[in-house]
Symmetry: C2
Subunit: 139 residues, 2 copies
């Protein structure tokens, strides 16, 4: 929980960089939805935790996520869309080789929990920025 939805961006990056998947999952509601950069669809906090635990034991285990900018869009009282512009370094490819830095946009749709004034993520979707193209390169 956090008292300012904008802080969710830094909390997410902090949890990522300390590879603390409990802390990362704790930013999400129990029934949160998360679509990752290749269209994997996770439908609960526990699925989100397990998926990130897997990737942070492998390709992301030494990676560092930096928040470049955050844009908030208020949708209703207690509902906000937070667009997190991120930069990732130190991640590994499928065979363990170092990969080039990546940039992207993580959308977090957060809700305030009335009981304690905290904010959690209800819906998230993440996208890699691929420069120089207007749609996804096809295989």
């Amino acid at each position: 929980m956090t008292s300012d939805p904008t802080e969710l961006a830094d909390r997410f990056a902090d949890a990522w960089n300390s590879h603390d998947m409990g802390a990362l999952a704790g930013l999400f509601e129990d029934a949160a939805r998360f679509v990752n950069v290749v269209g994997m669809f996770w439908r609960s906090r526990e699925e989100i935790r397990q998926a990130h635990a897997f990737s942070h034991e492998s390709m992301f285990r030494n990676s560092t996520l930096a928040v470049k900018a955050v844009e908030n869009t208020a949708l209703a009282p207690g509902v906000v869309a937070v667009h997190v512009h991120w930069h990732l370094e130190g991640h590994l490819g499928p065979t363990g080789e170092p990969e080039q830095p990546r940039d992207g946009v993580l959308l977090l749709v957060a809700r305030e929990t009335p009981q304690n004034g905290g904010w959690q993520i209800a819906v998230a979707q993440n996208t890699d920025a691929i420069p120089g193209v207007v749609t996804i390169p096809q295989r």
Copy 2:
């Protein structure tokens, strides 16, 4: 505008398939945000219209978008997240060659306009499903 947020999925596909960018843009709020599959960030209905007009004059001009499934998540009174599972065929590559069909997930966060009971899209993000990988293939 539509009286049921779930209908936004079919309205989006109908506008796509008739390549009617005015109809497509009309599904969005004036200040809507749209992150496309390669991280392009459009910040108004007009930017969304122009971007889709460009792609529907070229790579998507004969393409057909089908809605496979829709999942609604109510976020607050008058705010809903609509996950649209889509299938695309008939699109062209950068040099005009036919491309293989694609699948993906389009997130539409929609709001009800109190004055007329209609729903419009406030925030959208689109992701291609890339089978067999857990993160985006790096160049």
